[in-house]
Symmetry: C2
Subunit: 314 residues, 2 copies
Amino acid sequence: MLHISQANIEQAATRIQNHIHRTPVMTSQLIDEALGVSLYFKCENFQKAGAFKSRGAMNAVLSLDTSQSAHGVATHSSGNHAQALARAAKIKGLPAHIVMPENAPEVKISAVEQYGGKIYFCKPTLEAREQKLKEVVAKTKATEIHPYDNYTIIAGQATAAKELLEDHPELDLIICPVGGGGLLSGTALSVHYFSSKCKVIAAEPKGADDACRSFKAGHIIPSVQPNTIADGLLTSLGERNFPIIKELVTDIITVKEATIIQAMKLLYERLKIVVESSAVVPLALLLEHGIPINAKQIGLILSGGNVDLKKLPF
Amino acid sequence: MLHISQANIEQAATRIQNHIHRTPVMTSQLIDEALGVSLYFKCENFQKAGAFKSRGAMNAVLSLDTSQSAHGVATHSSGNHAQALARAAKIKGLPAHIVMPENAPEVKISAVEQYGGKIYFCKPTLEAREQKLKEVVAKTKATEIHPYDNYTIIAGQATAAKELLEDHPELDLIICPVGGGGLLSGTALSVHYFSSKCKVIAAEPKGADDACRSFKAGHIIPSVQPNTIADGLLTSLGERNFPIIKELVTDIITVKEATIIQAMKLLYERLKIVVESSAVVPLALLLEHGIPINAKQIGLILSGGNVDLKKLPF
């Protein structure tokens, strides 16, 4: 049971299309020559609010009925879902109550404020986030929009890979980063419905390898004290995401911190684009492990570009 | 006498089209709303070798006859013309002899080496560059390709504004940076030939304001001890560039260093692209002085993206 149909994804694409960018796909002759493959970078760093999260948040907010939206929306997020939800709520004229860890990047905090979201800070642990969100929801009666463990969110995130496959139906592999599994489960669904030959592999930081271990174990293993520069990939897999991932994803492969930094530098220098550390983990996979499943035409989802430019790691 | 005809520019566009990118034009809803105009950023930072200079260099190298190309090409350049010429020479199978100031950014030096250019270092003054280049040309018999004071170079650089006007014929103003005047004279020529209503204004760092002073005086005033972060804009106007600029350019306006840094940060944060300091001077003009000539639809040429990422000024 995948819970999300092809029609659900197509409806999501139609629902959100006036409020998100159809992002461009970039290529680099130099990186292609170095790796001996053709890479297609889906530039969600150019997406509204700077990340793919705008797709899911927009789909979720536009899917609410009147009673669900009466008191606005609420969530906890380390950053990109936070600003995406604040933006989506603003577009629909709803209040957004956002629980954020106190160590979230400054650029993400100020973006949420700019979209008119009301921020509630908490300790940077999953438990503290969930506790604070419970309090906020109890007080405001807002509808919780989980960052990834939510089918309308997943259907929205799926539209990135749908677009990529429309532009490049020849792809035989798409690699995307995995944190909670919203982008990964959505990507796997789009590949399942919109391509007959393409596979999906996820890339994960070794310092936050709970998804890789969960995938091998066959059940969700929570993320405990993750430690990686890729601050968008710290969370545990969601209960709605994991069954989809288990059924449709070919592999989850981990990468070292040094390779993530190397991949990030490469994209700044060669593609001349600003991407955040979580976004480059798929390229790091290719740099560290070579080309999986003998793929020739590989799509990589550059998930976002919201980086604190004062803290570039290279 | 403009010395370059509409046909010269059209021929240049055809000549180089297989060796350069038709670069994308980006927009930012947020910056547009803040300034109350529509801005169209011509992204030459995504150009081959990372700058518009690939256009002129490619046109110049492909225009050489057999006797001119027999001993390769030579030039002096602070960076972007250097790697563009090295790349163009490599494509045509010619040696490239490149004189560079010893303080050129590391990223630009290594790019020239990567394209197989032979580098000759000199002191960072115009006199030292010209002296060293004379020696190199005498020794190698290579044909000098001046970075900007050369009609085939100017016709090549003109193709950026030609493309921008093809994509956005509604533009009423194009702003570009000015150093030696290669991009500016080319831009002014394309606007003259390909638009009936568009104007051209140049933006220049206050710390290297020789073009502004020359424009007001009506004759070339050399650049003496310029001091600006925009290291691509240090040179004096060329003899072939100045008459074109004098005839076709509406104004040259200077900007402060702090505004250049502010504009650079804005583009990294909002457009999520990597641009060099020289490229953002046109946006700095709008931030510092407001909108000139009551323009509504403004094209800005983002001249390049070759920046030392370890030395971002913000």
